[in-house]
């Protein structure tokens, strides 16, 4: 404690927070957002303080200055370049506070831009070791803000807190060892003065975990592995094993069971639960690991005060298709069969849109939101488990060499990392999805690390003539798709919906587009110069409503070739923040 106060003496703003706990003005700015501000982010329209525009990550703004009648007059206010030779995928969601827009960029960079002029205030470049092997491009999905700090995760599995006025490092903690294959790309969330993060990693030897750290020091408060058999900790002491050892795994495979929590999580203040999704199990081939393999490909509800798992729901038990269950679980309330309920929704990689009771994880419904699911014929409403189609499961390694199995969705998912949005006005979820399948076969000749290996070959294939990407409006009460917008290239960016009856999302072709939230009619588009794979935000500043999005083509899609690549092969790289407002 003494150490913490001494360390804080260097910063007047931090001292003000620790000692007075009141929003005092420091040099050049306010004391910064506190816990209450973060929890109120969905209602506060003058800023964007959290990833998801609110801890529930509904990505809904009540702002309605820009609406269906005038969105056609949306024009750029400015664009700010991320510059340099470092381009590639820009998947970040901007944070907006006190006249500054904070964005993270590819290669673990952070930028602070003046929210009125677009001029750069500072830039932070993490020094990355050459030996890291990011699986899916060098992306970052956004930062968190708290007090005088901007906090983000790096490709070499560190969490870095920067002073938001200067960009100088306040603390920098390793969360896992990149040499063991760990990484971090998700935006952290901040709950009750704790930075809550997941981890990313390759397929082998990695174990997913959720961790809480003191936002002021970065010191670990609790650690919760998501694979059964692993011990969790709370304030340096053992805090119970996750699940029951060897209940759903054989032998010692749970020790390296996968389940990376690479997309981060959401938080519901009402039930005081964190919701984190978990990745696919390891090894990749399901025949080598009989059992459900808990808690991979699941959503976990975690108590933020202790790090204990309160409930789990596994979307793909015994996953054999790389259907990570990492997708965001968005808390919302709705009346189902005449009964008002506290619910949560998740559009899974496996192609089904799940509604659960968020107080206990009980299954309510699951509806297909993609063209085709070859791996399962629906979800059994009694058990909440998939009706598997066994012929659709990829074969055991070394067997049936060269004979492909067709699986849809492809392993990139009916929906990948890109977050959906939920409108309070229409009651609809807007899901950025993709219709594609894959041929998967046992590779006759494969080598790994210079040694013979039994690998699988994949080709991702379109399954429709006219599109891969589809923005879909899903009614959570009925499971019906109310409208859809089809896009030639795969959709890979997040969605925003507003009180102006609008839905915004970007396309790899370079457009930020606006749609009528009720009908799906396209009302506006703007070419940003490179593919849009970031998540748009909106806020009000000086009496005007602004919309911002990152442009910069990349992410996992361009790493895969084949038929699918035809839809995006001519898209150029970039790296810019675009900010829009209505023409006067």
């Amino acid at each position: 404690m003494k150490g913490r106060i001494l360390r804080s003496l260097g910063s007047a703003a931090a001292l003000a927070l620790v000692v007075a706990g009141a929003p005092l003005l420091a040099q050049g700015g306010t004391a910064g957002p506190n816990d209450a501000d973060l929890m109120n982010d969905a209602a506060s329209t003058g800023d964007v303080l959290t990833y998801g525009m609110g801890p529930q990550a509904q990505r809904f703004s009540t702002l309605k200055q820009i609406d269906t009648s005038n969105v056609a007059k949306l024009v750029p206010a400015f664009a700010s370049s991320l510059g340099g030779e470092k381009q590639r995928g820009q998947e970040a969601q901007p944070i907006v506070y006190d006249g500054t827009i904070y964005v993270t960029g590819s290669y673990s960079r952070v930028f602070a831009f003046d929210a009125r002029t677009g001029e750069e205030k500072w830039q932070y470049d993490a020094r990355l070791p050459e030996a890291i092997m990011p699986c899916c491009d060098v992306v970052n999905r956004g930062a968190a803000i708290y007090g005088d700090k901007i906090i983000f995760a790096t490709l070499d599995a560190r969490i870095v807190a920067l002073n938001r006025n200067t960009g100088k490092v306040v603390w920098n903690k390793q969360i896992a060892d990149y040499k063991e294959g760990y990484s971090a790309t998700a935006a952290p969330i901040i709950v009750k003065g704790m930075v809550i993060t997941g981890n990313s990693g390759g397929e082998f030897g990695v174990v997913g975990a959720v961790e809480a750290r003191d936002v002021n020091t970065g010191e670990l408060i609790w650690h919760r592995p998501v694979i059964e058999g692993h011990m969790g900790t709370l304030r340096g002491k053992d805090n119970g094993i996750t699940g029951k050892t060897n209940a759903s795994w054989q032998g010692d495979l749970w020790k390296t069971g996968g389940g990376a929590t690479w997309l981060g999580g959401t938080y519901d203040p009402e039930t005081n639960l964190l919701f984190f999704g978990t990745g696919n199990p390891a090894p990749w081939n399901s025949h080598l690991r009989p059992g459900d393999n808990l808690y991979t490909s699941s959503t976990l509800a975690i108590d933020p005060d202790t790090g204990l798992i309160k409930w789990h729901y596994q979307t793909t038990p015994h996953d054999g298709w790389d259907f990570d269950g990492v997708n965001e679980f968005i808390p919302f309330d709705a009346t189902i069969k005449g009964k008002p309920m506290k619910l949560g929704a998740k559009a899974d990689r496996n192609g089904y849109f799940y509604i659960l009771d968020r107080t206990n994880g009980k299954f309510i419904s699951a509806s297909k939101f993609v063209m085709q699911t070859t791996w399962a014929d629906g979800i059994n409403p009694k058990t909440g488990r998939p009706n598997y189609i066994e012929a659709g499961r990829p074969p055991a390694p070394g067997t049936e060499k060269g004979k492909p199995v067709f699986a849809s969705p492809s392993f990139l998912g009916g929906k990948n990392w890109m977050p959906m949005a939920y409108s309070h006005d229409t009651g609809l979820f807007y899901i950025p999805s993709n219709d594609w399948g894959m041929d998967i076969w046992n590779e006759g000749i494969a080598y790994k690390k210079g040694a013979a290996y039994l690998g699988a070959g994949f080709t991702i294939k379109p399954i429709a003539d006219d599109h891969i990407g589809v923005l879909r409006a899903m009614d959570p009460r009925t499971g019906k798709i109310m409208w859809e917008y089809k896009n030639k290239a795969p959709l890979w960016g997040g969605v925003l919906t507003t009180g102006g009856n609008l839905v915004f999302t970007g396309t790899p072709e370079g457009y930020l587009k606006a749609f009528d939230a009720k009908t799906g009619q396209e009302l506006w588009k703007f070419q940003t110069g490179s593919g849009v794979v970031g998540s748009p935000v909106t806020w009000e500043q000086d009496g005007e409503q602004y919309v911002a999005v990152m442009s910069g083509w990349g992410g996992a899609v361009p790493l895969w070739g084949g038929e699918v690549a035809k839809s995006f092969k001519d898209i150029n790289q970039g790296g810019a923040l675009w900010v829009f407002k209505l023409a006067k």
């Binding site: 290669y107 990355l128 070791p129 050459e130 030996a131 890291i132 092997m133 990011p134 699986c135 491009d137 060098v138 490709l155 040499k179 390759g202 397929e203 082998f204 030897g205 054989q250 032998g251 010692d252 495979l253 020790k255 390296t256 390891a282 090894p283 081939n285 025949h287 080598l288 009989p290 055991a396 390694p397 070394g398 006759g444 000749i445 494969a446 080598y447 790994k448 690390k449 210079g450 040694a451 013979a452 290996y453 039994l454 690998g455």
Partner: protein, 290 residues
């Protein structure tokens, strides 16, 4: 052959002096080799954590491939720049990262990469590189402690014995997957084959399935006795072994030719065998060379 080697050596001598007239007869084809000579450094990529081939021992990069890289550079009158590359999901990816394109985080492409499978099908789909100069025949083997396990028994009889394998490898898939998964609960996974062999020597496992080089090198280093190796093939085992060579960029065949010359010279002089023996590994001629 002889004349070409003489020419190369002549070029080497000239390179030291800073000129290249000796290569005038074939200027176009000589360019990549000439460029390497001009720079004075042979950049060789090897795998990180790939014992006994290339790994860090007490902070120093050592191993058979490391010694081979140094020998090749020295015979070309070049300085060796041995760079470690972290293995990606497949060797195809490694060739992109280490040889023909470079890494996402700035790994500078190497002139050659060692420990690349020499296999026609594999080479055909990696046409950005030339895979040349096979220098070893690798196979997986089963080894165990005499007193604890019968190495030559049908594998299903190993049920209940403690078996060790490298995570995510053919030995792993075989032991946990074969015979309807009969042995799956008996397998302990290690992060490398060498670790798995060490576990067997330390008495933490009764038997281990690993590469021959991993077994021989660790037994040699530990001076371990009482260990037997299976003599007959494993039933339904998917790998009969593979040749190991090296890769150069597709347009660097002149460099590749020079290296092939050097390597065959090292085998006929016995230098190659000695280089392997220093690590406790018996040199096995690649099948492709026979």
């Amino acid at each position: 052959m002889l004349s070409r080697r003489a020419l190369l050596q002549g070029a080497g001598a000239m390179a030291v002096a800073g000129a290249f007239p000796a290569l005038a007869p074939n200027p176009a084809g000589a360019a990549p080799l000439a460029r390497v000579r001009e720079l004075g450094t042979l950049r060789v990529a090897v795998y990180r954590d790939n014992r006994p081939w290339s790994w860090e021992k007490d902070g120093k990069l050592v191993g058979i491939d490391v010694d081979l890289a140094k020998a090749l550079a020295s015979k070309l009158n070049l300085r060796a720049d041995v760079a470690q590359i972290t293995a990606d999901e497949s060797v195809d990816d490694d060739l992109r990262n280490a040889v023909w394109k470079g890494g996402l985080l700035g790994f500078m492409p190497a002139d050659i990469m060692l420990h690349i499978p020499f296999d026609r099908t594999f080479a055909a789909r990696n046409d950005q590189v030339a895979i040349i100069a096979p220098y070893y025949r690798e196979t997986f083997q089963f080894a165990g402690r005499h007193d604890d396990i019968d190495c030559d028994a049908p594998p299903v009889q190993w049920k209940g014995k403690r078996l060790a394998a490298e995570l995510d490898s053919i030995p792993d898939f075989y032991l946990i997957g074969a015979f309807g998964g009969a042995l799956s609960k008996d397998v302990t996974h290690y992060m490398s084959g060498a670790e798995a062999v060490n576990a067997m020597i330390d008495g933490k496992a009764d038997g281990v399935l690993a590469s021959r080089a991993q077994i021989e090198a660790v037994l040699h280093e530990r001076g371990a006795g009482g260990v037997a190796r299976r003599k007959m093939p494993l039933p339904a085992f998917t790998s009969a072994g593979w040749d190991i060579g090296l890769a150069v960029k597709e347009n660097s065949r002149t460099l590749g030719d020079a290296i092939e010359e050097i390597m065959s010279g090292m085998v006929s002089s016995g230098e190659m065998q000695a280089l392997f023996a220093a690590h406790g590994v018996t040199y096995m001629a690649p099948v492709a060379a026979g």
